[in-house]
Symmetry: C2
């Protein structure tokens, strides 16, 4: 059976968790790394990645995969979905009624046991839409 590892409460781990919460808008590992280094300048990127993994395992944050290749981290662990700007890559929250897992007909899900439903919406954020409008007029 899987051992529960002891977990030390290090400064790095605390600052990393705090940075994810304070940055708010779904930062990437590198953005979190930059924020953490303003407080603890000797922090390494691998420490950031390792602790993000631990925090995800502990359910304290969530990892969000979008259209891009980077993983974003979310301090809001309540069930919700995301919308991503195809221009600037920004990720925002969306609260649409989730599909009720239990009402899914087994045949429509190829007889899979359904665990999680993720909805990812692609779009253009208001700022980028405005910018595109300006460029069109010139």
């Amino acid at each position: 059976m899987p051992q529960v590892q002891p977990r030390r409460n290090t400064t790095q781990k605390r600052v990393i968790l705090q940075s994810v919460a304070e940055l708010g808008c779904h930062p990437t590992a590198v953005q979190i790394y930059s924020a953490v280094r303003q407080v603890l300048p000797r922090t390494s990127l691998s420490t950031v990645y390792r602790n993000l993994g631990i925090l995800v395992d502990q359910g304290k944050i969530k990892a969000v995969k979008g259209a891009g290749s980077e993983i974003h981290y979310d301090h809001n662990t309540c069930e919700h979905n995301h919308i991503e700007c195809t221009v600037c890559g920004r990720v925002c929250d969306v609260h649409v009624n989730p599909l009720n897992i239990d009402t899914l007909d087994p045949e429509t899900v190829s007889n899979f046991i359904v665990l999680e439903v993720h909805m990812n919406i692609l779009g253009i954020c208001p700022e980028c839409a405005e910018q595109l409008e300006k460029e069109k007029l010139q």
Copy 2:
């Protein structure tokens, strides 16, 4: 304005498209590469990636991003969603009523212009579920 490049109809491109269709269940670039090399043994992986990109641009296939880090390719370009096995990584089709983009309240989508809605379901496929059952009994 964007130039339309001339496109040559090469053997590699034809075999790559055919492989995506014949492999059926959402192959990755490496799986397509293996299949193509059974017909054209000197094909390079970069040729596979380049042509997959062209075929996606031309709307002949679709790229599907799941929970894993590899991109899967889908010969079915009709709108549908996917379910992915968290054990073996297999991707299958799912036909659930899509969210109607036009009925979304602007405020719930942070005033984004909505372009596409992707639903990705995570679960356990029947084969892996059976395997896990067996292991549990031992």
